[in-house]
Symmetry: C2
Subunit: 337 residues, 2 copies
DNA sequence: AAGGATAGCACAATCGTTTGCGCAAAACTT
DNA sequence: AAGTTTTGCGCAAACGATTGTGCTATCCTT
């Protein structure tokens, strides 16, 4: 049942042509002056056959797939997973479906996946970019509405909605400094990504004013990276730090793990502050002071922006002015520093 | 660039017919005896034009979309999100893309989404079912290869790969009992779902042997549910428990939150054990003893099983024998009980 | 009763690919 | 030189839907 029945089946069973059936079933009966009688017979038969339109054929014909492509740098990262979940939920509610792809933090893979989205005629794309330059995204955007989320590019007309990572990192760092910490280790994520660069900038600017010791290390938003960097920074005759700023909760976990291995108590021997929202952070030992980002709001704005572009293009209007939004994050104070 | 160029464009530019171009570009040049010369010219021109096949048209014609539908009960639940991530990763590596949908734990929505998958001509479906009966899934399965994961139905020929929830819950409960706890509160998730039922059964069977006090409450795999049930079980003149078995890590968080509100120390005043893997559980206060499920293995088996069915059907062979797998979970002992 | 208006529907092209079949020219046979 | 085989490619149908255009009854008008 289901997929087997096409307009043609209904057409055969009712004696009406495929075109008439199509018009009735897509709600255009009035517009095309189809008789009540025909309308009822056709609707009844479609019901009986459990007719479902073939979205593939529909897409080919109308160039509208009711599908949005969502491209993220890593499905494994809980931060991206959470954000994806939020976006998928919003899209579902709008009757859109989501094709989810993973660029594995690789610019090459990202281009691949974007090409794929185009081949699949997605109606729009939401992307957390992995590339360091916006050229390809801009090309894509000229064909398919595209908005960036979480990460953006320096000079581009692409619309984006991110959180203010500079402000967030600066706020976190100043909080640490206010607590009297004297040497701070920042463990960063993917160095080239805009949020990371902004966080580094915020961190350094905050430090700059006070002139305490610091170091920025690391290269990935992963648990492994957190482990590795803490091990190499705290073991042996290395320089020691009295506080750590983890740029993501995954990094945080790795860092804590290594601290414990080294016999250091996170939050006591070493102050801890982190980026990212995660329900678990409140239940850790100690609960982690952190910079939270309003993800739901960001997701909503991204979707809204995307749909505005889509609507405009469909109506033949010019794109709405590029919207580049930085949402302020929040410092959530707990007991880890 | 990109999407605009079709076989027809390349055909026009090279002077060869659309069919020849198609055969060359889909690697069937040899099979159809296309001359080297034609092949080279066409390939070069396609390259130059940056030709990308239109997957929608391809799907319509070949009935193969290279897309798998993944249906989960809730994108918000980190457990499902993690499992989804794993599956999407595996599929990506196989060159398949994933349409991710959310049934919101509703049988109605699930049917909707499955219909949608059929309309979209997905090549296969992986599903964590929300319905209580398998009828519709079986209907779908007769049209599109489908395997269940994490949850299954009582008597069905559908293939599934789940973890042994009975064994897991029994193991956890026996561990609690071994520790001397005398009254245990089990906070369950969605009552009708098979994993939940199995866990309840494992819990009760374990209890049965020892005859200690117990209660099974709750109705959702959510933080809220955990909060609510602990509040109502521990506040006022209510019966008190000396241990809690949370059927998911989300429930666990809620439970801990309420315990703390009530001035009870999780792991000290009340023993805690949980279901679910989650990197954060090791960093909580105290680290949580839990039943972990081998998700990566489960995902891999599900995908493999799905592809075997897909291969068989494509080759016109009968479906391979239904594969119903229960993977044993692991008890990870920490300090919370 | 002849003419125009309108209602009600079907024809056929189209979206971009794939593929069975067939046809012409070249190459080979005897 | 006539027939046979092979080479190299194009025609056209098909996948399932949408939609501009046009055709035929019926109806109204006078």
């Amino acid at each position: 049942m289901g997929q087997k029945n096409t307009l043609f089946t209904v057409s055969e069973q009712t004696g009406y042509s495929v075109s008439t059936v199509s018009r009735v079933l897509s709600g255009k009966a009035r517009k095309y002056r189809i008789s009540r009688e025909a309308e009822e017979k056709i609707t009844a038969e479609a019901e009986r056959l459990n007719y479902q339109p073939n979205l593939i054929a529909q897409t080919l014909r109308t160039q509208q797939s009711k599908t949005i492509g969502l491209l993220i740098p890593s499905v494994d990262n809980p931060f991206f997973a959470t954000l994806s979940g939020i976006i998928i939920g919003i899209l579902n509610a709008k009757g859109y479906h989501t094709l989810l792809a993973d660029s594995r933090e690789s610019g090459k893979d990202e281009v691949q996946e974007l090409r794929m989205f185009m081949s699949r005629s997605v109606d729009g794309i939401i992307c957390i970019p992995a590339s360091s330059t916006p050229e390809f995204h801009e090309q894509v955007s000229s064909q398919i509405p595209l908005v960036l989320i979480d990460r953006h590019f320096k000079s581009t007309s692409l619309s984006y909605v991110c959180t203010d990572n500079y402000a967030g990192a600066r706020m976190a760092t100043e909080y640490l400094l206010g607590k009297g910490y004297k040497s701070i280790l920042a463990i960063q994520g993917v160095p080239d990504s805009m949020p990371n660069r902004e966080r580094v900038r915020g961190f350094k600017d905050a430090i700059g004013v006070h002139g305490v010791a610091f170091s920025v290390v690391g290269d990935a938003f992963s648990v492994e990276n957190g482990k590795r960097e803490v091990l190499s920074a705290f073991s042996g005759a290395q320089k020691q730090f009295d506080a750590i700023f983890a740029f993501s909760s995954t990094i945080l976990l790795g860092a804590i793990d290594s601290l414990r291995r080294l016999g250091l108590r996170p939050g006591k021997d070493v102050g801890i502050i982190s980026y990212d929202n995660n329900g678990f952070l409140d239940f850790m030992d100690p609960a982690v002071t952190r910079v939270e980002q309003p993800l739901r709001e960001a997701g909503q704005i991204a979707v809204d922006t995307l749909f505005e572009i889509m609507d405009a293009r469909r109506a033949g209007r010019p794109d709405p002015p590029s919207r580049q939004i930085l949402i302020p994050p929040t410092l959530v104070v707990r007991g880890s520093c």
